[in-house]
């Protein structure tokens, strides 16, 4: 049986110009904008001909970038907003976990809010009465249920909201990213509950940025791109294709960002002619660094790396006069400003002999051993005592992605060992 059927759904939103955030009565009467159809130029096309169906008992994941239409789709499925054209047919009672605790009133007790929220979600007073103990117990709020909701922590608030919504006992459950706000101990409990729903053959539509969870719990995944179904199929396949697409986009973005920043360095050089931008670049410029670029193992310029990929930093140097005392150094900072690694030619046991005229410097890293994130690079040349010739501080950006979700600053090489009586099954994908 088909639980949800979406047929060629289009959804247009009105685009507001900044100056006319709201209509005036006059303009509405003159232009008849209030009841008329939106013209092509004044609308934002959130969904453009989306069709799919979900078999009863299946779990469908919807992934996509921000603004791809995921949430709009879910709102239409929930019946909150109406499609501009096309149709949605649903079979069974729907509960949408789009915002938990919508309609909670801060001034009154959790108990009363359970009843209000329950009735808003379509339960009757009697049904709530029957499920009341379950709801409170699942939310772990036995001790606080008679306190006003305004005193609840956001975790408690979310727990109560989730507990009520899940106890509506729907045939079709719509979930939009709500698990993102839960406290660490409650999220597994929610996932358990979702799994229980799956076992009971309920239909679930799950919108999330958490691709690992999507892959784990969904039978099928749809990738929405700019309001259209880009791909649909087996979770692993769709998620991988999506990751590839996002990765490529990121590379382009970092490439552009790098080009821009490199240009700004050159601009400062040109415009200021020896003057310094004290925030980002300083030094006497007796030796000058330019043209800092990053490459992958094959020598291709790149700013998005995989964690175990080789990386190279290369730059041109120009010495105005011959120098005997010089040190090249680099440092890598993460996005929190923590120095992840730094080294220079002295620390690596090079003694400077001489430099004159133009030259090239290249630093090779066989494997990055960083966790995923955005990093900033310092590149410098200075004297042994620290007197700076040219210091580029945090001027270059690159990004590391990783399949693994380890945490910390750096990936320390490691291996697990277990005695005979401890057994694991190794997952294929890692």
């Amino acid at each position: 049986m088909v639980a949800v059927q979406v047929q060629d759904v289009f959804k247009f939103y009105k685009k507001f110009a900044d100056r006319h955030k709201f209509l005036t009565i006059k303009s509405a009467l003159v232009n008849k904008t209030l009841f008329g159809d939106l013209q092509v130029g004044e609308r934002f096309e959130a969904l453009r001909g989306v069709s799919f169906d979900v078999q009863s008992g299946h779990t469908l994941g919807i992934i996509g970038e921000n603004g791809s239409g995921k949430s709009t789709m879910l709102k239409i499925l929930a019946g909150i907003s109406k499609p501009t054209s096309g149709a949605v047919i649903t079979n069974g009672r729907i509960s949408a976990l789009i915002e938990l605790g919508a309609g909670f009133h801060p001034e009154i007790s959790g108990r009363e809010n359970v009843f209000i929220n329950g009735i808003i979600l379509g339960l009757t007073r009697k049904e709530i009465q029957e499920k009341y103990d379950d709801i409170v117990q699942f939310a772990e709020l036995e001790d606080f249920i008679d306190h006003p909701v305004k005193g609840y922590s956001s975790g408690m608030f979310m727990r109560l909201g989730f507990s009520i919504a899940i106890n509506v006992n729907p045939d079709i459950l719509l979930i939009d990213e709500v698990l993102a706000v839960g406290d660490a101990s409650f999220v597994p409990k929610c996932l358990d509950k979702i799994n229980e729903f799956r076992r009971h053959n309920k239909t679930i539509i799950f919108v999330s940025h958490d691709l690992a969870t999507v892959e784990r719990i969904c039978d099928e995944v749809i990738w929405l791109k700019k309001g259209q179904v880009e791909m649909r199929g087996y979770p692993k396949r769709v998620v991988d294709a999506y990751l590839q697409y996002v990765g490529k986009k990121d590379t382009d973005k970092y490439q552009r960002q790098h080009d821009r920043e490199a240009k700004s360095v050159q601009d400062t050089q040109r415009e200021n002619d020896g003057l310094q931008n004290p925030e980002k670049r300083w030094g006497s410029r007796e030796i000058e660094i330019s043209n800092v670029k990053m490459f992958d193992g094959s020598g291709k310029e790149k700013y998005l790396f995989n964690a175990d990929e080789p990386l190279a930093v290369a730059f041109d140097v120009q010495a105005a006069a011959s120098e005997k005392d010089f040190v090249f150094g680099i440092a890598i900072y993460n996005s929190e400003g923590i120095l992840c690694y730094g080294s220079n030619t002295v620390l690596d046991d090079f003694s400077a002999k001489s430099i004159a005229g133009r030259g090239k410097v290249r630093l090779l890293v066989p494997a990055l051993c960083l966790i995923s994130g955005t990093y900033f690079l310092d590149v410098a040349v200075h004297k042994f005592d620290g007197y700076p010739f040219d210091y580029h501080h945090l001027l270059y950006t690159f990004r590391v992605t990783s399949d693994q979700r380890d945490i910390g600053i750096s990936r320390i090489a490691h291996r697990w060992e277990f005695s005979e009586n401890i057994r694991f099954e190794k997952n294929e994908n890692s």
């Binding site: 009565i25 909150i80 109406k82 915002e99 808003i120």
Partner: protein, 265 residues
């Protein structure tokens, strides 16, 4: 339309719980909770009694045997007016205040303006014992015509409801209505026989007043309490028709704009 009304009736449990939530939230945490909803009409009554009962007229208001009775007359009209005006003001932002309900869950939106009018009606009903108490201590006996009260209540509910549907729907699109409304209500207040009796109004102005449905509604409360006589049933029946017309138009426009609320609030 009948179908829509049935639909609204299906939500009565929701309406009831929302109204009681509003009442509880307002009365919670303040010891004088109930008193606060009475505070505004009482203050108005006192101010007008002082201004017109003592300052302007020097102790005697035309058409009233005593200042005490003028105060009673005032309170008699101010209470239903407060219900009316507060409902209109609150409905001008009720959809925005409860935007989360509209945007995040499937929610019967028409319940919100109904909640506003019903909540204010409960305030009004709760204030009635105070009005009756004043009648008793000021030595003006009540008559059986008080029993006409439910009719006035019903007519006022229908008329107010229509306006509130209209206002709540339109303010979503035109935020300036709220400011216009506050001024309009001041004008409307003085165009309704609340601080002066209908009978003392010059003939020309009476014609103007007759076009104001609130004139006949407030008068019907005056008849039930202050005058203690049969309401002017002809004028009241016309008001019923006008009320129904407003209700119908208000709801139709609300219903027509309903789908736009999700995106605009």
């Amino acid at each position: 339309m009948i179908e829509k009304l049935r639909e609204i009736l299906r939500h009565r449990q929701l309406i009831m719980i929302l109204v009681s939530r509003e009442l509880k939230a307002r009365y919670r945490g303040t010891m004088l909770g109930f008193f606060w909803s009475l505070f505004n009409p009482l203050l108005l009554m006192i101010v007008y009694t002082v201004v017109f009962g003592f300052i302007v007229s020097g102790g005697r208001v035309a058409g009233f045997p005593s200042t005490k009775l003028y105060a009673l007359f005032l309170f008699n009209g101010i209470l239903p007016w407060t219900w009316f005006a507060a409902s209109l003001m609150e409905s001008s932002n009720v959809l925005m205040v409860h935007g989360a309900l509209i945007k995040k869950i499937k929610f019967p939106i028409e319940v919100l303006p109904i909640m506003v009018v019903a909540t204010n009606m409960v305030h009004f009903i709760l204030a009635l014992p105070v009005l009756i108490f004043f009648f008793l201590i000021f030595g003006k006996p009540l008559t059986l015509w008080v029993l006409f009260l439910p009719i006035s209540l019903l007519v006022q509910f229908i008329f107010t409801m229509g306006l509130c549907f209209l206002i709540s729907a339109l303010t979503v699109h035109f935020r300036d209505i709220k400011d216009i409304l506050a001024n309009l209500l001041t004008l409307w207040f003085f165009s309704t026989p609340i601080i002066y009796p209908y009978e003392t109004v010059p003939k020309v102005l009476k014609t103007v007043l007759n076009f104001n449905p609130m004139t006949h509604l407030v008068e019907s409360y005056h008849f039930a309490f202050y005058y203690g006589s049969l309401p002017h049933w002809k004028r009241l029946s016309v008001t019923v028709l006008v009320g129904l017309l407003f209700f119908y138009l208000g709801y139709v426009i609300f219903d027509k704009l309903r789908d736009t609320f999700v995106e605009e609030v």
